[in-house]
């Protein structure tokens, strides 16, 4: 069983490097191989699920001296994250095939995307914090190349900004990890369950987490990263990058260390400020991708609120949020990509009336948008309700009220974007066609899944309940 973990990690990480040579032979074969590698990660992760739910997670360990032991553990949380990332990643790769048909540097693109997803697999399964750090940095490098995909000077500047911000955060986090090492004498998470760590250490690690998950005040690189091709932004926002931070939070602070009580208030407050400021910026932005990007910053606040309050309901809501937000936000970016690809602009003031010529994209955008807003019967409703209700139960009713304001702003800016782009009268002189078959199928698939995840809430909810039940100290 534990071989499956290695396969899930190594298939994309190693396989990524054979994509460019394969691409020299046939571009189509390279695209399909990239898709296959991501799907291997998904299938391996999914087949690890039964044993994890049965309470016997697959575990692979290499014992080394000096606390350098490392291993890979496929428990509920790891599989949950791995399945979401690889599944949404797979859809994004499928979408890329026709999106990037006429672009340069596609060999590097597929290499980096696959490596990125592989790094995510390695990160979620690792039980050694040094390994987590290493995969963390691999993802930063992939991210840097992908944001600068079009190689314009402005793109490169913004790619550098993203790289520098996240790598700075990661270095600070590494100092935190070293402090932990000096305290416990090990890098192995399995030996640190329930170890108390100091406020300073928590703060250092949080800088890393917040920089990766684009939370105030380390968030400004994410809206700027919108210059990347749409599948890349979708990948950053929905599948991989910003989810790394929230995963690390859950792994380190829910399943790992015992952190001082004060953080169950401080983190929600930071998350609330982040959610509001980003929502306000989204309301003022005119670039479709910037609006959606700020929306991610805002929604990440909800996830942190859910994970941080120390209440089982809100923790489950936070995890569920990762899934629902991934599906819906992935869909939104891919829809924005179709618009940008065919209309050659992403300024919402220049767009309008696109629902007539691209009805499927418009409806998918609306459905995904409604899920991000948290309206039933879409999946986003449940995660949002659980986070809000759970944080009220955790005696944070005022913070919950602030998040209600954030939710309201979410609805305002998303409806503003939808109405401006898809309703009204067409303003562009050209007829904007619907995207290609695979692109439309990708967005429709994500929209449909957002709906199905809400209608069949029983299954995802059961999954997160199992995960939360494994967090001993929550007292479930």
């Amino acid at each position: 069983m534990s071989g499956l973990i290695l396969l899930a990690i190594l298939a994309p990480v190693v396989g990524a490097f054979i994509l460019p040579p394969v691409g020299k032979l046939s571009r189509r074969l390279r695209d399909l191989l990239a898709l296959a590698l991501v799907l291997v990660a998904f299938i391996c992760s999914a087949s690890l699920l039964p044993s994890a739910l049965a309470g016997e997670p697959a575990y692979l360990q290499v014992v080394l001296p000096l606390g350098m032991s490392f291993g890979f553990l496929a428990d509920g949380l790891a599989i949950f994250m791995a399945m979401i990332s690889s599944f949404i990643g797979g859809i994004i790769v499928l979408y890329s095939i026709s999106y990037l048909d006429n672009s340069e540097h596609t060999h590097e693109y597929y290499l980096m995307v696959t490596l990125f997803l592989g790094a995510m697999m390695g990160l979620v399964y690792s039980t050694n914090i040094l390994f987590i750090y290493i995969f963390w940095e691999i993802s930063a490098i992939s991210c840097w190349r992908l944001i600068g995909f079009y190689r314009e000077p402005d793109n490169i500047l913004r790619a550098d900004k993203a790289f520098l911000t996240t790598v700075f955060g990661a270095f600070v986090m590494l100092i935190g990890f070293l402090l932990i090492y000096s305290q416990t004498g090990t890098f192995d998470l399995m030996e640190m369950q329930g170890v108390s760590i100091s406020n300073a250490t928590v703060l250092l690690i949080l800088v890393g987490i917040f920089s990766k998950s684009a939370t105030l005040p380390l968030h400004t690189w994410l809206p700027d990263a919108g210059v990347a091709p749409a599948p890349v932004t979708s990948l950053l926002h929905a599948a991989v990058l910003v989810k790394i931070g929230v995963y690390a939070y859950a792994r380190l602070f829910l399943f790992g260390f015992a952190i001082p009580e004060v953080w169950s208030t401080v983190v929600p407050v930071i998350a609330a400020i982040s959610a509001l400021v980003a929502a306000g910026a989204a309301m003022r932005a005119n670039d479709l991708k910037r609006i959606i990007a700020y929306s991610t910053v805002s929604q990440i606040g909800f996830i942190f609120l859910g994970l941080a309050t120390g209440n089982p309901l809100s923790a489950a809501g936070g995890l569920l949020y990762i899934l629902m937000h991934g599906l819906a936000k992935g869909g939104l970016f891919l829809c924005a990509g179709i618009v940008e690809h065919n209309a050659h602009t992403k300024d919402i003031r220049e767009l309008g009336g696109l629902i007539k010529t691209m009805p499927i994209t418009a409806v998918s955008f609306l459905v995904c948008g409604l899920s991000v807003m948290g309206l039933p019967p879409l999946g986003g409703f449940f995660s949002k309700f659980m986070v809000i209700s759970g944080s009220v139960t955790a005696e944070h009713p005022w913070i919950a009220a602030v998040f209600i304001v954030g939710t309201l702003m979410t609805i305002i800016y998303l409806m503003r974007a939808f109405c401006a782009v898809f309703l009204g009268t067409p303003k562009l002189g050209i007829v904007v066609r619907e995207g290609s078959k695979t692109m439309v199928a990708s967005v429709l698939g994500l929209a449909a899944l957002s709906l199905v995840a809400g209608l069949l809430i029983f299954y995802p909810s059961l999954f997160v309940q199992e995960i939360v039940a494994q967090i001993g100290w929550l007292g479930l």
């Binding site: 900004k161 911000t165 105030l216 005040p217 968030h219 400004t220 509001l276 400021v277 980003a278 929502a279 306000g280 910026a281 309301m283 003022r284 932005a285 700020y294 089982p312 309901l313 489950a316 409604l370 807003m373 309206l375 039933p376 019967p377 409703f381 449940f382 309700f385 659980m386 809000i388 209700s389 009220v392 139960t393 005696e395 009713p397 919950a400 009220a401 209600i404 939710t407 309201l408 702003m409 609805i411 305002i412 409806m415 503003r416 109405c419 309703l423 009204g424 009268t425 809430i457 029983f458 909810s461 059961l462 309940q465």
Partner: protein
Amino acid sequence: MSDSILILPILLPLVGSLLVFVTPSQNRILRSAFALLFSGAALVTTIITFGKQLSFSTASWAGFGMDFQLKLDGLSGFIMVVAGFTFLALLYSVAFMQGRERERQFFGFVLLGSAFVTGSMLANNLVLMLFFWEGLLAVLFALIMSGGAKATPTATKALVISVTADFCLILGVGVVFWQSGSLNMSVINLPLDNFWNGFAYVMMMIGAVARAGAMPFHTWIPDAAVDAPLPFMAFLPAALDKLAGIYLLARLNLQLFQMLPGSGLSLTVMTLGCCTIIFAVLMALIQKDYKRLLSYHAISQVGYMILGIGTALPIGIVGGLFHMVNHALYKSCLFYSAGAVERQAGTTDLSQLGGLGRKMPVTFICFLLAAAAISGVPPLNGFFSKELVFDAALQINVVFYIVAALGAFFTMASFLKLAHVAWFGKMTQVAQKAKEAPWPMLVPLVVLAFFCVLFGVYNPLPLHGLVEPTLGSALTHSFAGLPHNWLVAGISVAVLLLAVANHYYGVKRSGSALGSSDHIHYAPVLKPVLAAAEAGKTDPYNLAGAVMDVFALVLATIDKAIDWFYMKLVTGIAAALGRGLENAHTEKPWHYVLWVLVGGVAVTVLFFVGIGG
């Protein structure tokens, strides 16, 4: 009978909706057949189950106490009314929507909306209730949008206003869960004796009254009257929104919270009801469009329901719920008459209408009955429910009663104006061409007018059958039959006669029926206030929008400032540092010797400090 039959009133319209959506858009016969068949079947199941106590739940749903629980009791028996109004709305739309652009969208979402409203009234778990309750938001948006591209701002407005209130409701549910530890509505019964319980009540109450269309959450309704297809108005704002909102308000006061008559919260709710009555009716009085006039009455009348239920007295709750049913009957009937006028005469502008009564006699008679019912003319249904609300208000405080009676005066006045202008009077050019409406539109009109009469002259039928069972043991005696308080009834009749006198005065003074309300419209204090309100200057949506814009600007500036920090400050410092070090490399040997010496001294000092420490 298996309890799982409770699924059917939700499932049938849902399936019907899906079938409507997959029907090819040209095939309107099949689509209409699906719509009528499935809404009719839903109506039949609600009639079969009516009066029974049923409950249905699945083993598990979303976990953490969020269970899929449905329950049919006295109060949720109102789903029969929901199903009935859905059927009538669809029947009417078969004729009305013919040849309109977004017909399929309209039919599909009406059915979907019916499923959601029914679900929210059957749900016995707060989260399931929210699931159905908020599901209606997307339906609301889609239905208004079926009025065409011009409806976009109104649809967005309706969505944003409704969402604001519904998120208050979510927060309220969260606090209820925190305080009571349960989401099962059967077991929740919170005393209103601490801050958080009161907070939860207010939040949930906002959700309920906003759905019903009370102030200040009402301003999208008059806009929708103009932009949305007319059956929408009869379907949601006049009927289903009221049923759902008042249902929840009654549920709050009867079951979820221990509301005491005369308590601060009770008085707050009653005040809200009174404000809604009086301000909306004044706005109705000055309207010069058939549909907009009706839409303000749809707001004003909800004030009576809120006032009645807000008293927390059995007579008030019975009166409020009875008024809710009556209002749905006569207001739908009135909107349908407006739709008939719009379709047959081509306009609802009152300055162009006149003398329609002779051209459209059936519609005219139905209009007259419904208008008399809403004005509270005995022995129609509106009279009896208003008397109960008056009686309850008077028992709490005479001020509430006076406002309510004043509202009745203006209601009568505005319907005298409407009837006089549109249906009596000289036949205008527009009216000359009008013919009687087709039968699918007349059937709902006649059915509704018939019920307005029946529920008045034989009021034990709705009161014993539908309304009074909702109170259970709280009901000490029946309120059916003639009004118990003859003084109040006498004053009501006197108010109506005064309104007639006022109308004659107004017509005489202005010289036209349309100007019959001008002496009130342009009265000294009222004139500027009403003008500002009509121009949207008092619209909370516009005001909140302006505040929100400033708020967003402040937040976006913070965001820009943070970005400036990285893009300018951090990079600037790094560059300055780099330049400084660059300048240190002067390529003069003795400078480098100096650096080495300074460095050597520094290291030595640090070493000794380190040892000493």
